[in-house]
């Protein structure tokens, strides 16, 4: 009895509110509470010396940002982040276009190849980092073992322990992990290019390379905008691989901005400074994305 009474009260109540509001309310509430609110708190905390534990939060004005501006450690991390990001955006896009063209052109086992190139995307950064740590290990690793087998033992390198090679090792293993993702975007782009364009060029006597260079590549500009913006954002945020493979080392050779946010905020309990770093990172992502989209959009043509 009571049940049906409640039911009708409920439906009378919901009847008065537009279903649109009811459908949107949970998403708005969750997103506002757990994404937007903490982002604004972050902006506030970046002006404090909060340690993450105590109740007292001291407002210190721009001190954190002055420290960021003057810190050698941050400059070094910024340099590493920029090298890493630039190298990854360029290499991932070249590799992805190459893979997409191969998968698109190959006559046999096309779906199998597409899956295999995509497999590394499925693997967590932690697992991938561990596997590559072993592959790159100085004494027992796969790469050095292969060098031994082909008689090049003197070329053996301590890939992750040598300051000259640690960042390169992280770049190449991340390239392996991510290329397949952007390949999917370029494949979608390739499928959008009408066949008659390349056929016409072929009749006019253009070779395969000419067709790619003059027709396919320019028409992939839209995919390239998307793919390079996404790879830029994910490279700026790179974290898991570094945590497993080098922990920012040797020394500070592979420390990036996201890694400092984590180290300073949770290792050294300087969360005010950590949020300030996070804000800088956020602004950096925002600015680079806007510039990148502006520049790349200019290359795009409408079919």
């Amino acid at each position: 009895m009571n049940d049906t009474k409640n039911q009708s009260a409920w439906s009378r109540w919901t009847g008065r509110i537009s279903p649109t509001v009811v459908f949107l309310l949970p998403a708005i509430a969750l997103y506002t509470l757990f994404v937007v609110t903490p982002t604004f708190s972050s902006a506030y905390l970046s002006f404090t010396s909060w340690d993450g534990v105590s109740d007292k939060i001291h407002f210190i004005g721009f001190d954190n940002f002055t420290e960021i501006w003057n810190s050698d450690r941050v400059h070094n991390a910024l340099k590493n982040t920029m090298i890493l990001t630039f190298a990854l955006v360029v290499l991932e896009n070249i590799a992805a276009i190459a893979l997409a063209v191969l998968v698109d052109q190959v006559r046999w086992a096309r779906n199998l190849f597409r899956s295999v190139f995509y497999f590394p995307v499925l693997i967590s950064g932690i697992v991938m980092g561990f596997v590559w740590t072993i592959i790159l290990n100085y004494n027992f690793g796969v790469i050095n073992r292969m060098l031994e087998l082909i008689g090049l033992a003197s070329w053996k390198i301590d890939w992750l322990g040598n300051p000259d090679f640690a960042l390169i090792s992280i770049i190449l293993s991340t390239l392996w992990k991510q290329a397949g993702y952007y390949m999917i975007i370029y494949l979608a782009g390739l499928q959008g290019i009408p066949q008659d364009l390349t056929e016409a060029a072929s009749i006019d006597g253009a070779g395969k390379w000419q067709q790619f260079r003059r027709i396919t590549f320019p028409l992939l500009a839209g995919s390239m905008t998307v793919s390079s913006v996404l790879s830029m954002i994910s490279s700026l945020k790179i974290f898991d691989q570094i945590a497993v493979m080098t922990d920012g080392g040797p020394g500070f050779e592979t420390e990036t901005l996201t890694y400092i946010v984590y180290k300073v905020g949770f290792g050294e309990l300087r969360q005010g400074f950590g949020t300030a770093m996070a804000m800088v990172l956020f602004l950096l992502i925002l600015i680079i994305t806007v510039i990148q989209v502006k520049v790349l959009r200019r290359r795009e043509v409408q079919l």
Binding site: P19, F23, L24, A27, I28, Y31, V106, A109, I134, D240
Partner: protein
């Protein structure tokens, strides 16, 4: 003419095959090493296992807390996805099918969230979770995952719904079906492929996530598979066989899900890519 064409095809196939072998090698290396003893791995990393060595799996599953971590990973991924499927499709539907101005603003508000990196708000977020009693249990991560997926989810569903004709909904409305009924009985089933894309892409992200569960789940207790693997790399730095067994257990389920549901991964990425 024909002969030249087929030589080109064979060459292309061989090149693609060689690259595919290089791409697959690290995964193969991981799965293979899980069945080798530690001394076998150290002796020759690229040799195939001589026998099916299962001790590292046995050790992981009986002597460590890895089974509890597996349960956590499964529960966390499963529950987060269930809540996403409850919250996100209806929000996307409300935005796409409404002509009101305010829903347009809500859409932009959601999309803005896709630009905010997790690191930018994680520190105050953890403080907030502590105040609400969601820190140190599975509730916190679930809430974070569902909230964090609103932006991408709204984009995915609105672009999919543009291709779903309104006529079916209109005729159902004429037949006296309520807006709720229209959504749950008619639209939601039609959204199946889109929901599948969201589930596989977000499910993969949650299963593989590291930083957030490591920081939010209580210390001293098993966390998720990926977090435990990270700890093992530090603790058992000389027991590679065991870590390989752990990583193999985290990889195999995703490989199976991927092979079964490939097209939803591909569609999800392509849809997300249209707008970026």
């Amino acid at each position: 003419m024909y002969k030249g064409k087929s030589a080109y095809d064979v060459l292309l196939f061989i090149v693609t095959l060689l690259i595919a072998v290089m791409f697959f090698f690290p995964i193969f290396f991981n799965l293979m090493s899980a069945f080798k003893s530690n001394s076998e791995i150290m002796r020759d990393a690229i040799a195939l296992p001589t026998s099916l060595y299962l001790d590292s799996f046995k050790y992981l599953l009986t002597e460590t807390e890895f089974p509890a971590a597996i349960v956590n990973s499964v529960v966390l991924t499963g529950l987060s996805i269930v809540f996403m499927v409850v919250v996100i499709p209806m929000a996307g539907y409300a935005i796409e099918r409404s002509s009101a101005k305010w829903t347009g603003f809500v859409f932009l508000y959601f999309l803005a969230g896709m630009m905010i990196p997790f690191q930018a708000y994680m520190i105050p977020l953890f403080k907030e979770l502590k105040m609400m009693g969601m820190y140190g249990n599975l509730v916190g991560p679930i809430v974070i995952y569902v909230s964090g997926s609103v932006g991408f989810g709204a984009l995915l569903y609105t672009s999919f719904l543009k291709g779903v004709p309104r006529e079916i909904e209109e005729s159902a409305a004429i037949d006296g079906c309520s807006r709720y009924g229209i959504f749950y009985r008619i639209v939601f089933p039609l959204l199946g492929p889109c929901t599948a894309s969201m589930v596989v892409l977000n499910g993969l992200g949650i299963w593989n996530d590291f930083l957030m569960p490591m920081l939010v789940l209580p210390s001293g207790k098993p966390k998720t598979m990926i977090v435990e693997i990270f700890y093992y790399v530090g603790e058992f730095s000389s027991r590679w066989d065991m870590i390989f067994a752990g990583t193999a257990m985290s990889i195999v389920p995703i490989l199976i899900v991927f092979l079964a549901l490939q097209k939803y991964f591909v569609k999800g990425i392509a849809t997300g890519a249209i707008k970026g």
